[in-house]
């Protein structure tokens, strides 16, 4: 094995038991926790300091958000199935589930677009009050993360086959890591939903 090859991409390192990608994605998720954590602390400080703070459900459409929560949770499930299909060497099934996850992402963004245009049409803008401002920033940044995840999945959907055929373990790990990122995005929404819409 040549010295120029970077090791532990496919097989985990014996003493740490982890592959490079796995540690990398968990570190990235840690930094994302701090990013959204900062925005949540901004939300809490603004809410605690504000004289009046509208209740989420009066200003926002709870049912659309509920639908979105269901869509995102099911996209998490299809993502896990896409990874499980690879373990069963069923690349066709994998592509189907990956496409399904991508579709759920699109639906999620579609509902988000409906929600946003609804706000704008009632001329509720970020500048209206700090509740809407932090709402747009939190859901907007979350939306950008959804788009980022979808781009990665699209890349695998279109160009994944060659990598799967040459280095199947590496491809499986990549899908698993993308899955970890996607579940994290779902996890952030699980907190966003009650905090913005229900409290």
């Amino acid at each position: 094995m040549s010295t120029a090859e970077i090791q532990y991409i496919e097989t985990p390192r014996p003493d740490t038991g982890l592959t490079n990608g796995k540690i990398g994605i968990w570190l990235f998720l840690a930094s994302e926790v701090m990013l959204f954590g900062a925005l949540f602390s901004a939300y809490v400080l603004l809410r605690v300091g504000a004289e009046t703070w509208p209740a989420g459900r009066e200003v926002l459409n709870v049912w659309l958000a509920l639908l979105n929560t269901v869509v995102l949770i099911s996209s998490s499930v299809t993502m896990v199935f896409a990874w499980a299909a690879l373990l069963k060497n069923d690349f066709g099934g994998h592509k189907k589930y990956l496409a399904l996850t991508l579709l759920c992402g699109l639906i999620f963004l579609g509902i988000k677009a409906i929600e946003y245009s609804g706000k704008f049409s009632h001329d509720l803008f970020p500048s209206t009050n700090n509740f809407l401002a932090i709402y747009f920033v939190l859901t907007g940044l979350h939306g950008i993360h959804v788009v980022g995840g979808m781009i990665v999945m699209l890349y695998f959907l279109l160009f994944g086959r060659k990598n799967w055929e040459q280095r199947p373990t590496m491809y499986t790990n990549r899908i698993e890591n993308t899955g970890l990122y996607w579940h994290f995005v779902d996890l952030v929404w699980i907190f966003l939903f009650p905090v913005l819409y229900l409290l």
């Binding site: 038991g17 982890l18 840690a30 926790v33 373990l87 939903f193």
Partner: protein, 123 residues
Amino acid sequence: MDPQTATIEEINRHVKLYLGVFAALLVLTAVTVGVAYIDLGHGANIGLALVIATLKASLVGFFFMHLKWERRSVYGLILLTFFFFAGMIGLILGGYWDTPTGTVHDRVAIEIHTTHDDTGGSE
């Protein structure tokens, strides 16, 4: 289950497990919405919503993100990040709650004198 050496039945068993977790998540989502419409007092509502959200988050984390079968070091990273996350929110709020009251700044702000040209007409 070690991805490299898992057998087909093991994987299928896991797939069923994922469906179970999916169902649980949907139920919890319905519960959290339902509970929100019952007014249990502001503090209780927040507490309950956060508990349910944490429950759902740990379900996603343990099963979908395979934390259940993950190495200890990843837990360490999550714990470290959570400690700093909690420290950040706690200390920022601490800074807000601990603001002293009844200080000289609390007196009514000095009447804001308009700086119009007071040596003649008005603008």
